[in-house]
Chain length 250, copies 2
């Protein structure tokens, strides 16, 4: 049987957000490859081998998956959220570009998933309801100057914004610098949303004015959303709704 | 029975991209509200009333849905893609903010969906694999100058970009102007992807250098993706893969 490689998005954590297309690929797989906590979401069954691996070994993991697919296995690389959005799809294609010539002609498919920023946006209303950008705040793979530049230009463009990987143990100071840049650039009290464990039973949504945001409000399980200058809060009994209007006028 | 309002994303067209969470809401609905072609995706059944409406009546549609929910109905407003991304969620919250006080305390939930740009990115590799922005090119609700400004700043930030509503019959010239701005700002031959009817049986993916893109390559059924300056093409037998590396170095 000819091998195949599927790069599948499991969504942000709630299994009710896994698309039937992805579930079907998982059901037909012989091998599941991915970061330990994502592989742990897949139930064991006869004929399925699980290959969990640690963080920061994305290229090794991709090469393992490509090699198995070349040897006739039905391999699924699992990503949290959507595989395109700061996840495994780019790593696999990097491995393809710089790897064995045979890998280019493999049957490789990317299956989209619900990415964390859209689950977080849904959880509090529609803060990403107008033009927006998504920025990875990790400086593992890009210089901090570029992150700063993108934050300033995104503020100038008046995008709503989503931030992935705001903070980790190895980079405790980065998010403090990012917040300072955003506070200086935006210079107003627009809402910023800290969505932790989004879509899971222990989800928390913390909405504060940008002027009052502090670095400790985010950790590695948080996706952060920032409104544009036009983002609105609707007060009500319970958690308010936050949304960005479709129109820039009125 | 207490009424409720769910704003649900149906994904870009293929029913295998509808999440179980959304399917469950559709199965429990008494009333489905939305734009004609999206409501047409929902099968009729006893106890379910379909309320299709035309384009550009988003606020009226929202008010109808809110009013029915206030009267005890289980209402689902359907959007294509994800409800937050240039779709119905913002319209409903606009109606809530400016409407009846009772509407604020309704049980309103947004359920995320697979948005077109992520399905298009998956269909050709991972062109949105690094920092990116999403811009609606329709100038129905914002001035063209703001679109131009965002395009220039997004180019300066070196974001990958996704463009929704690139072209319609009523705005034939807008996309030509946008392309010209992008060609001037980016000033290179990075790939631009025209993904039409994404996820449907008649999906087409057209990848061309930005320098050779022409306005007629997009229509109202197309989502357009533009790489960053670092986006790569992997040539192979068949359609090439396009991806944006995770790293900005090397």
């Amino acid at each position: 049987m000819r091998g195949s490689l599927v790069i599948a998005g499991l969504g942000p954590g709630n299994d009710a957000l896994i698309t039937p297309e992805v579930q079907d690929a998982l059901d037909r797989a012989t091998d599941i490859v991915g970061y330990i906590p994502y592989v742990a979401r897949i139930a064991a069954r006869p004929g399925l081998t699980l290959h969990p691996s640690d963080n920061r070994v994305e290229i090794d993991r991709s090469r393992l998956a490509l090699d198995m697919a070349c040897n006739g296995r039905q391999v699924v690389v699992v990503s949290s959220g959507d595989p395109s959005v700061f996840a495994m799809a780019s790593a696999v294609f990097e491995a393809v570009e710089h790897g064995e010539p045979d890998w280019r002609d493999l049957d490789i498919q990317v299956l989209p998933g619900i990415t964390a920023m859209l689950a977080a946006s849904a959880a509090c209303g529609a803060p990403l309801g107008h033009d927006f950008c998504a920025i990875n705040l990790s400086d593992n793979l890009k210089p901090w100057d570029l992150i700063e530049k993108r934050l300033r230009l995104a503020g100038e463009a008046d995008f709503a914004m989503a931030f992935y990987n705001p903070r980790s143990k190895s980079r405790p100071e980065g998010f403090a610098k990012a917040l300072k840049t955003l506070q200086d650039t935006c210079n107003d009290a627009r809402p910023i949303i800290f969505a932790r464990n989004v879509s899971r039973p222990d989800q928390t949504i913390n909405i504060v004015p940008l002027t009052e945001a502090t670095p400790d409000m985010a950790d590695m399980r948080t996706v952060v959303l920032l409104g544009s200058s036009r983002t609105r809060i609707i007060q009500r009994n319970g958690t308010p709704f936050v949304y960005t209007p479709r129109s820039v006028e009125g």
